[in-house]
């Protein structure tokens, strides 16, 4: 078990040596992630772990990737996607372009889900999906649009619950236990590294989706990120958060109206 002071040392190293700032990540979860890596990678002591992180840039990639949580699925919380279909996308139809930002997209499952929604609403041709994450590794995986076949049954069920009416398997080609999603879906995606802790806004968007990312941040960092989103959202655009996250208690809340029953807010002020 890592000591609090050792976590502080490690976080200081990550910042000083590599510029990654994890000091405003929620501590309990971060501690678990570090302990998990310590066990998985069998470091005999903290000193070995620290030395490896400081001196081995290849190990750092693994460390950062494992420190951050990259669990995601397609059409997670199907009702959420149902609301996007029924209430959000129709109000964006008249726009000449639709810009969407998936902040903290991980391995891309939600980006592909969104592309499917847009295609079915006949909006994909005029949309751009910006997908960002702080991990270059997961972005590379997202860019390929290749997922495990074993998850497709669950995703297909989620898709149907979200209001999907097509045969889900028409969106991908299966090959040796893996599936590759159609190129057509990926054509409008732009993948880039972006660190919510330190990077700025890079465009104006009609919809920002950032689900189950803020839970890993302290309130201070949450406030910073929500302000960044606020600065990046056009009038009457939307912000979607995870099912246990909220705008309540944030300074941007007065300018937003929550859609009934979902963690989706519309910018009204």
């Amino acid at each position: 078990m890592i000591e609090e002071e050792e976590i502080d040392l490690l976080l200081k190293d990550l910042y000083e040596v590599y510029g990654y700032d994890f000091t405003q990540y929620a501590r309990a979860s971060l501690k678990r992630r570090i302990n998990r890596l310590w066990t998985l990678d069998k470091f005999p002591s903290f000193a070995e772990l620290r030395y490896r992180v400081r001196s081995d840039p290849d190990y750092l990639k693994r460390f950062v990737e494992e420190l951050t949580v990259n669990v995601t699925e397609m059409f997670r919380d199907p009702m959420y996607y149902r609301t996007l279909r029924a209430e959000v996308l129709p109000t964006l139809m008249a726009k000449p372009f639709i810009r969407i930002w998936h902040a903290g997209c991980s391995t891309g499952e939600e980006v592909f889900s969104m592309a499917i929604l847009l295609k079915e609403a006949r909006l994909l041709h005029k949309s751009i999906l910006y997908a960002t994450d702080l991990n270059p590794e997961v972005l590379e995986s997202a860019r390929q649009g290749i997922f495990s076949m074993s998850t497709m049954k669950q995703y297909s069920e989620n898709y149907i619950l979200s209001g999907g009416t097509t045969d889900f398997s028409t969106y991908y080609t299966a090959h040796y236990g893996r599936v590759k999603f159609n190129e057509e879906l990926a054509e409008k995606m732009v993948f880039s590294t972006h660190n919510l802790v330190s990077d700025r806004s890079f465009n104006e968007f009609d919809l920002i989706l950032c689900r189950n990312v803020l839970i890993y941040f302290t309130k201070t960092l949450q406030e910073r990120v929500l302000t960044l989103f606020d600065e990046s959202l056009a009038p009457l655009s939307y912000l979607g958060l995870g099912s246990k996250e909220t705008l309540k208690f944030s300074s941007i809340q007065p300018r937003y109206k929550q859609l009934e029953g979902e963690k989706i807010w519309r910018k009204i002020g």
Binding site: S29, R32, I215, S243, K244
Partner: protein, 202 residues
């Protein structure tokens, strides 16, 4: 020493009680909750394995059984005594040193999210000896490692008597693993938890 502290009953400095359960544990909770004597002097945190859905019917069901406020945890909720907190489906529930909850949707542990071990270990880390961990009926090995963590940080651990559990596997794992300070049947559990409550009515 543990005996003395137990016999002293309400002198146990308990600020948080965390209850974990799986198959067969809801029935135990539905008997326990109406027997609580509010106001509670501690925060009561419940982690039960649930279907992977976002619905909040379980919190509603619990709230019908007690006058103690029941809340399914949202990110960064403040942990207050006198309140029952339910771990939301599909998230691990952790405790922060600043007295708030945090949520985590990382990998399942023991095939479970929420995992009982995750909450027990996190609570042990933050609450130390002011924590009581209770493990109920279930068919999974979740909870044993967490109870050990609670013990090692000076907290108390209590396990449902496997014979009285709908599925005795989970509590039996804990007992065999040496993770249980006490083993109680359901009336015993109820009495024990009420004895921890220093502000109860009556």
């Amino acid at each position: 020493m543990a005996e003395n502290r137990l016999n002293a009953g309400h002198s146990v400095d308990c600020r948080v009680v965390v209850i974990g359960g799986s198959t067969g544990s809801i029935d135990v909770l539905l008997r326990l909750l109406p027997a609580l004597q509010p106001p509670l002097s501690f925060a009561l945190i419940i982690v039960v394995h649930r279907r992977n859905t976002a619905d909040s019917t379980l919190a509603h069901l619990f709230s019908l059984k007690t006058s103690v406020p029941v809340k399914e945890v949202d990110d960064k909720d403040v942990i207050r005594p006198g309140t029952i907190y339910l771990a939301p489906a599909d998230y691990h529930l952790l405790l922060e040193r600043d007295g708030t909850f945090s949520l985590d949707d990382s990998e399942k542990i023991n095939y479970s999210r929420p995992s009982i071990d995750v909450t027990f270990e996190s609570a042990a880390d933050v609450c130390g000896s002011s924590l009581v961990g209770v493990l109920l009926s279930g068919s999974n090995a979740d909870g044993t490692a967490g109870l050990k963590a609670i013990k090692s940080m000076g907290g108390f651990t209590v396990v449902q008597e496997p014979d009285t559990a709908q599925v005795g596997f989970m509590p039996q794992q804990a007992i065999s693993g040496g993770a249980a300070d006490y083993v109680f049947d359901i009336p015993g559990l109820i009495r024990f938890i009420n004895d921890l409550n220093t502000t109860r009515s009556r």
